[in-house]
């Protein structure tokens, strides 16, 4: 009745084992370890405990685990 041509959704994940090598590749490892990276939406410091995701928006931006910040990510996709 209703067409169902929606394909599988690709979800991109980064495993913790690859986190520091990836940040190093992006030139952000030292800033991350020094607590200099902030959430693009609420401004809180991104740490190993509250890192949810990252994306490109005139440079690499980070998002923390706050519900309101995750909601903002929706608009980026």
């Amino acid at each position: 009745m209703e067409e169902n041509n929606i394909k599988k959704e690709e979800l991109e994940f980064l495993h913790d084992n690859d986190l520091l090598p990836v940040l190093e590749k992006l030139g952000l490892k030292d800033d991350f370890l020094a607590g200099k990276i902030k959430c693009a939406f609420c401004g809180s410091v991104i740490t190993e405990n509250n890192l949810y995701s990252f994306f490109e928006d005139n440079g690499v931006k980070f998002c923390c685990t706050k519900e309101s910040c995750i909601k903002e990510i929706e608009k980026k996709q």
Binding site: D16, L19, E56, I73, Q77
Partner: protein
């Protein structure tokens, strides 16, 4: 002597049949796994989880398989309730130092997955990512912020509740996401409560999300205006009494025909009506809804007698009214005062 012969013949036959039945069983298993790859994934994830006790080398495979099987199982179920509502599942892609730049250039949002000791959080993050990224992406923009959040939370919960194990990621979601979010916002809490009631009555995916999806298909990518926000909000309020309904006596027959959402609902539930008046009054009311502009008519019934009547009514309408171009049958379990009952929803599609 005859007895001994019979046993010998039976044993001889069994010796032939048994190897064949073994192959047949294996073939049936292969066909089943081919048709349900998410089940195969779930089994392999269990093996991976077990092997993690001795060796951490399969950690990424475990996370990948476990998350994929959970989401794919749930999406299959949701699409059964309302076809095309969500994607046909997910593929998990691992990002690393070699490919990170190409994914960022493509505008991808990359979500972090922690070690398997934090797997509950991983599962919740993955379900959240899936719902915010892939589900009704073109339609949600026509909803208020509050409705969007309530629908996202309800969908994440629906996906997590599919898990067969001890439900630890559901517990994690309740304690760390759902309760804190709802307790911080009274209006969101109220909206979410209504969505929960809709889910229990089988209206959430079957009517609310289906109609919102159809609206998005018509309108996207036009910029949402107050008119669309008002229409989706009014539609949500229109459905609320149906979600709160227990017996079906106060509301039986209703329709919502506006600019973009044009639908009607009819419950076959009134005691004695079927026995005394047959199907005719129902058919007449549905035809009236179609004349007034309803394009999807949702016919509901629970308990065997009403289910049979709903099927017959749909069949007769399809045969008699040329405007009814198609219909879709969905069977499910509904709740009446906490009692689980078999139920049916038939969606009649009327041409313009």
């Amino acid at each position: 002597m005859d007895g001994v012969n019979t046993i010998t013949i039976a044993w001889g036959s069994l010796k032939i049949i048994l190897p064949w039945s073994g192959w047949l069983l294996l073939l049936a298993l292969v066909v089943y796994l081919y048709k349900h790859p998410e089940e195969f994934d779930a089994w392999l994830a269990k093996i991976d989880r077990f092997s993690l006790k001795f060796w951490s080398g399969r950690e990424k495979q475990f996370i990948q398989r476990d998350i994929r099987s959970r989401i794919n199982r749930a999406s299959k179920k949701i699409n059964k309730e309302s076809e095309g509502l969500v994607t046909k599942g997910v593929e998990i892609v691992w990002v690393n130092q070699e490919n990170i730049e190409s994914f960022l250039r493509k505008g991808k949002v990359i979500v972090r997955m922690q070690h398997h000791q934090n797997h509950d959080r991983n599962v919740v993050n993955a379900a959240t990512h899936y719902v915010t990224k892939g589900v009704l992406h073109t339609s949600k923009i026509y909803l208020s912020e509050e409705m969007q959040t309530a629908l996202n939370l309800a969908l994440i919960k629906k996906i997590l509740c599919e898990e067969e194990d001890s439900g630890t990621s559901t517990d994690y979601f309740f304690a760390n996401v759902l309760r804190p979010t709802l307790s911080a916002n009274t209006n969101l809490n109220k909206t979410y409560d209504v969505v929960e009631k809709m889910e229990r009555k089988g209206l959430f995916t079957r009517i609310l999300l289906r109609e919102i999806r159809l609206m998005g298909k018509k309108l996207y990518p036009s910029t949402p205006t107050n008119r669309e926000f008002r229409e989706t909000n009014d539609f949500f309020n229109f459905l609320e009494p149906f979600a709160s309904l227990e017996t079906g006596n106060s509301i039986r027959d209703w329709e919502f025909v506006r600019d973009d959402i044009k639908m009607g609902i009819l419950f076959v539930a009134q005691l004695g009506k079927l026995e005394h008046e047959g199907y005719r009054p129902y058919i007449k009311r549905i035809n009236e809804k179609i004349t007034r502009g309803a394009q999807n008519i949702y016919l509901f019934g629970r308990k065997p007698n009403n289910i049979k009547a709903v099927k017959e009514i749909a069949k007769q309408l399809r045969a008699e009214n040329p405007k009814v171009v198609d219909y879709r049958v969905e069977k499910y379990d509904s709740f009446l005062r906490s009692e689980k009952l078999p139920a049916i929803c038939i969606v009649l599609k009327a041409g313009r």
